[in-house]
C-alpha cells in the first residue's frame, strides 16, 4: 500500500515553478525565518503566497472579500447583549481570554488558567458565554461562532502570530507535533507529506501550501463559505480516507496549536480568501 501511495504521490506531484505565477515562486513573497531553532523548516510562508492573482486580489480588498461579510456578522454579535447576565461579549471577553483584546487573535490556542488546559478561541468564547454571560454556547461551525472568531482574529490582522508552546502548553504542543507527523487513513499519509515535504509543488491542479493557519477562519471557494481550522482538518482526513474527529476534539486543538506554532511570525490575515 505504501509503495503504491509513494508512486501515486510522485506521479501527481509536479514541481510548481514550471507553472506557477505565485509570489512564493517569483520571489515576491514575505518569507519568515522561524524564530524557534527547533522548527523543521528554514522558511515560513503564508498560504496567500501560493495562490494566483485571481484569489489574492479578492483577499486584498475588504469589499470584494466575502469573508468580511461573516466578520461583519461577528462584529454585530460582539456588541450584542446575550444571556442571563445581561452582558455582551465585548464587555467580558478580555477577562475570559486572560489577555488584552488586541492580542487575542494572534496568540490562541493558548493555555488558559480558568480552563486548566490549552484551548482554542472557540472554546474561550463558549466558556465565556456559558460561565460569565449565562448564554448558550455556539455550535463550533455555526455562522455565529465563525463570525465571532473571524471578527476577533481580524482585530489582530497585520500583527504576527505568536502562540506560546512552552511551560503549561508544552504537553499539547508535543501531542500536536506527534499528530502532524502521524500517518493515518487508507492513503497512509500525514500532514507533513504534503505541507512539509511538498509545499510549492502541485498535487494534481492544486498548489500545496505549508498548511499555515494564519488566515483562519477563512473563506474557501471549495466551501463557498467561511470555515474553521477544524473543518479543514476534518476535510483533509476525509481526503486521505481517515476517520475525521469531531469538531472541538482535544487532538484537533493540539494540532491547531502545533500548526499555529509552525506559522509563528506570519501576519494574521483573517478572514483569508483561499481555494
Amino acid at each position: 500500500m505504501r509503495l503504491a501511495v509513494t508512486i501515486t504521490m510522485a506521479l501527481s506531484l509536479i514541481a510548481g515553478a514550471a507553472f506557477a505565477k505565485t509570489p512564493y515562486h517569483d520571489g515576491t513573497a514575505e518569507v519568515i525565518k522561524p524564530v524557534d531553532k527547533s522548527h523543521p523548516l528554514d522558511e515560513v510562508v503564508s498560504g496567500y503566497n501560493f495562490r494566483k492573482a485571481m484569489i489574492r486580489d479578492v483577499q486584498d480588498d475588504d469589499f470584494e472579500n466575502p469573508g468580511m461579510l461573516v466578520a461583519d456578522h461577528g462584529g454585530e454579535l460582539w456588541d450584542t447583549v446575550d444571556g442571563s447576565a445581561g452582558k455582551s461579549l465585548s464587555q467580558v471577553f478580555a477577562g475570559c481570554a486572560e489577555v488584552p483584546l488586541d492580542v487575542v487573535g494572534s496568540i490562541y490556542p493558548r493555555f488558559n488558567n480558568a480552563a486548566g488546559k490549552v484551548i482554542s478561541l472557540e472554546q474561550v468564547i463558549n466558556m465565556c458565554r456559558e460561565t460569565v454571560m449565562g448564554a448558550k454556547p455556539y455550535k463550533w461551525e455555526s455562522r455565529d461562532m465563525l463570525g465571532i472568531t473571524a471578527y476577533i482574529r481580524m482585530q489582530s490582522r497585520g500583527s504576527r502570530v505568536n502562540v506560546a508552546v512552552d511551560g503549561k502548553a508544552s504537553a499539547a504542543f508535543e501531542r500536536g507535533k506527534k499528530l502532524y507527523y502521524q500517518r493515518v487513513g487508507q492513503l497512509d499519509m500525514s500532514c507533513a507529506h504534503c505541507h512539509e515535504d511538498n509545499y510549492g509543488n502541485y498535487i494534481r491542479a492544486d498548489m500545496l501550501s505549508q498548511g499555515n493557519i494564519n488566515g483562519f477562519p477563512t473563506y474557501r471557494l471549495k466551501w463557498n463559505g467561511v470555515g474553521s481550522t477544524h473543518r479543514r482538518f476534518r476535510g483533509c482526513m476525509k481526503n486521505i480516507r481517515a476517520k475525521p474527529l469531531p469538531y472541538g476534539h482535544e487532538d484537533y486543538v493540539a494540532l491547531e496549536l502545533y500548526t499555529a506554532w509552525r506559522g509563528n511570525g506570519l501576519k494574521v490575515e483573517t478572514p483569508a480568501y483561499r481555494n
Binding site: D57, A205, D206, K222, R234
Partner: protein
C-alpha cells in the same frame, strides 16, 4: 444552412495591445465553439440576427482559474457614454455551463464609463462571450477562453 451569426475577431494590433498585463485573458478570435448552439441562439435572440461588430471590448478574465466556483469576470468597453452614444446593455454568456446566461448589465450615461466586474461559476473550461448593445441598436462582441482546473485535494 442559415447564415450563422458573425463572430468578432480582434485585430492583431488590438489583441497584442491587450496581451500585456498578467492575468488578462488570451483572445482566441475563434469563429465558432464546440457546443455554442445555446449561446448562438441567445445572441440571435438579442440581435435579431443583425451582424455583430468587433473592437472596443476588453475582457479581464484569468487564463486558468484554480477554482470554478468564483471566477473573476470583468469587462471594459470604450464608449463616451454620452446621451447620444452609450452602451445600453452588456450580456455575459458561458458556452460550457448548464445554461449559457451568466449576467446582464444595463448601463446609463450617468455612469460615465462602461465597465463592470463580478464573479461567476464555471462548470469547466469554456468560452466566455460578452455581447454589448449600443444605444443606436448596433452590437459588438468579444470572447475568451477560461481554463478551469479541478483541484487536487483539500478537504
Amino acid at each position: 444552412m442559415k447564415q450563422t451569426t458573425q463572430f468578432s475577431t480582434i485585430s492583431r494590433r488590438h489583441a497584442l495591445a491587450m496581451l500585456g498585463a498578467a492575468g488578462v485573458a488570451v483572445f482566441a478570435g475563434v469563429p465558432a465553439y464546440a457546443d455554442g448552439a445555446a449561446v448562438a441562439a441567445k445572441i440571435k435572440g438579442l440581435t435579431g440576427g443583425k451582424s455583430v461588430g468587433e473592437g472596443a471590448i476588453e475582457l479581464d478574465l484569468p487564463e486558468i482559474a484554480e477554482n470554478g466556483n468564483a471566477v473573476k469576470v470583468a469587462f471594459s468597453i470604450d464608449s463616451p457614454m454620452t446621451a447620444d452614444n452609450y452602451v445600453k446593455a452588456v450580456h455575459v454568456m458561458a458556452d460550457g455551463n448548464p445554461t449559457p446566461d451568466v449576467a446582464s448589465f444595463n448601463f446609463s450615461p450617468a455612469m460615465g464609463a462602461c465597465r463592470a466586474s463580478t464573479r461567476m461559476r464555471l462548470a469547466k473550461t469554456q468560452n466566455i462571450i460578452v455581447l454589448a448593445e449600443m444605444n443606436d441598436g448596433s452590437f459588438k462582441q468579444a470572447q475568451a477562453t477560461v481554463k478551469v482546473t479541478i483541484g487536487g485535494c483539500g478537504g
